[in-house]
């Protein structure tokens, strides 16, 4: 999947993206790193088909057609759960909207909940869950259709650090087990280095790609990676790139 010279401006005159080129390869974990308001989320919404680019195109490599709507899982910054529905019914939503029969959907729902470790909470309501658990439900919902591409928009930004580290590890495990392609938006240098194989550093508005960094540390990564010298070195590199990106725009 690729974005070619994509621009997006809004009716109020804000130019969120201008000349964004981005390639995402199958099975890759790529992070979009940039300051708040650099159009990272806009790029994600364009990929998801939730809004249309003002210029340029989104290309899906197999068919080669622009705007081909794929099976996509989306995780928002907030858990975005329906408070009136149980955990199981929230996770089932993508299937319900596609008129999947209950008997067919049930094992998929159970499997998705199992993967995020919430199998015993299927009948709970969102308000009964902690922030981290709500986010797990949100991830289970994105997984339930078995989409190849997961788009994640700062999903852990509102969580405390302990929960965030835990979810970082779980997400990496899921990614390795399921072989999904993940595009992960974040403004945290540390999170992007820990998770991704490739970091795309973006400039502030209008957003463009400033620099790409490969993080060649091998997977699986665990807590030991967080404290390694390699990790610190990559963080410094990413941090410098981010500072340069912001300085270049200023």
């Amino acid at each position: 999947m690729a974005l070619r010279d994509v621009a997006k401006s809004f009716v109020n005159g804000v130019v969120a993206l201008d000349g964004l080129d981005l390639d995402v390869r199958r099975g890759e974990f790529v992070s979009l790193l940039g300051p708040s308001g650099c159009g990272k989320s806009t790029a994600l919404r364009l990929i998801a088909g939730l809004s249309e680019p003002s210029r340029g195109a989104i290309v899906w490599d197999e068919s080669g057609t622009a705007h081909a709507r794929r099976d996509i899982g989306f995780v928002f910054q907030e858990p975005t759960l329906m408070p009136w529905a149980t955990v199981a019914r929230n996770v089932a939503l993508p299937l319900t909207l596609r008129h999947a029969g209950a008997s067919k959907a049930a094992p998929q729902i159970a499997a998705a909940l199992e993967r995020v470790g919430l199998a015993s909470f299927r009948d709970a309501y969102p308000r009964e869950l902690s922030g981290g658990m709500k986010m797990r439900v949100s991830i289970a919902r994105a997984l339930v259709t078995d989409a190849d591409l997961l788009l994640m928009d700062e999903p852990f930004a509102a969580l405390d650090e302990i929960t965030r580290f835990k979810l970082n590890n779980d997400l990496l495990d899921l990614w390795q087990a399921l072989g999904k392609t993940i595009v992960f938006v974040t403004h945290s240098v540390f999170e992007s280095v820990y998770l991704s194989g490739r970091i795309v550093v973006m400039t502030p508005r209008p957003g463009r790609v400033f620099k790409e960094l490969r993080v060649d540390a091998p997977y699986p990564r665990h807590e030991s990676f967080r404290t390694s010298a390699d990790y610190a070195a990559y963080c410094r590199l990413a941090s410098e790139a981010l500072n340069q990106a912001m300085a270049a725009a200023a």
Binding site: R69, T80, M82, W84
Partner: protein, 267 residues
């Protein structure tokens, strides 16, 4: 004292104090009526009112049923009409722009002034029902409209992402999300429907087998049957209280699992 003891004693106080205040008030009232030997056509004591309530129960209960039937019919029409119109507004901007101002006008025009006109063009029972509907319908419409518009934007995006139809968005997302607003509207509408029915009955003012409690009050006034006026008034306020608590209970029942308003917090 532990916090649970404290909470329990506070709950008892909240029950006991209003009852004590009521008993005190009624006692003073009865005492004053006796002490000044006030005739019943000036001010009946509470004991006489209670006796009248029992003695006239046959007439009063028939009237109570008549008023309640009107109230619930008005409320039911208001709920159906209010939610239906709000959905129509939500689906079509032009319809909302075209009709919303008239819904507001219907609401701000005092129903007491509309009632005599309605009585000219509609049969009496129809006019009374129309009045109950007019006053009860707007809170349902306004609250439902607000509720349908207050849907979480991310959830809306999520439904789009998974290719939801307009029907699915309405029934799976907008209506459940608006439910707390709708129920608040219905709770207001319940009380107002009673007000509308009473206003129309008083404006109608003519006798008949199906005459409601408000008509009994007016009629008893002409006959200087003041105790019966009080008895009918008492029944009307009890009816209002029961309607309020019934609708609050319904709201709690529907929202208790998920909405903040229905969840008791500790501490």
């Amino acid at each position: 004292m532990s916090t649970t003891d404290h909470a329990a004693s506070e709950r008892i106080l909240r029950l006991v104090l209003p009852v004590a205040a009521l008993a005190l008030g009624l006692g003073l009232w009865e005492l004053a009526v006796q002490a000044y030997a006030l005739p019943p056509y000036v001010l009946p004591g509470p004991r006489l009112v209670a006796q009248t309530l029992v003695a006239d129960w046959e007439v009063l209960s028939t009237s109570l049923v008549a008023t309640l039937v009107t109230t619930f019919e008005g409320l039911a029409l208001a709920v159906v009409g209010g939610i239906g119109l709000a959905i129509l507004f939500n689906l079509s901007r032009p319809v909302e722009y075209a009709l919303y101002p008239y819904a507001v006008i219907l609401q701000v025009t005092p129903v007491l002034a509309i009632a005599p006109l309605l009585l000219i063009y509609l049969p009496q029972q129809g006019a009374v029902l129309a009045c109950a509907w007019i006053v009860a319908f707007f809170p349902v419409l306004a609250n439902t409209t607000l509720g349908l518009k207050s849907v979480d934007h991310n959830l809306t995006d999520l439904y789009r992402l998974y290719g939801a139809s307009r029907r699915q968005v309405l029934f799976h997302l907008k209506l459940p999300s608006a439910l707390p607003h709708i129920l608040a509207g219905i709770r207001i509408a319940g009380g107002l429907s009673l007000v509308g029915a009473v206003v129309a009955e008083i404006a109608a003012g003519s006798a008949g087998a199906g005459s409601g409690l408000a008509y009994r009050i007016a009629e008893s006034g002409y006959r200087l049957n003041i105790p019966r006026m009080f008895a009918a008034l008492l029944l009307l306020s009890v009816a209002g209280i029961v309607i309020f608590f019934a609708l609050s209970g319904l709201s709690h029942l529907l929202l208790r699992r998920w909405h903040e308003s229905a969840i008791a917090r500790e501490g």
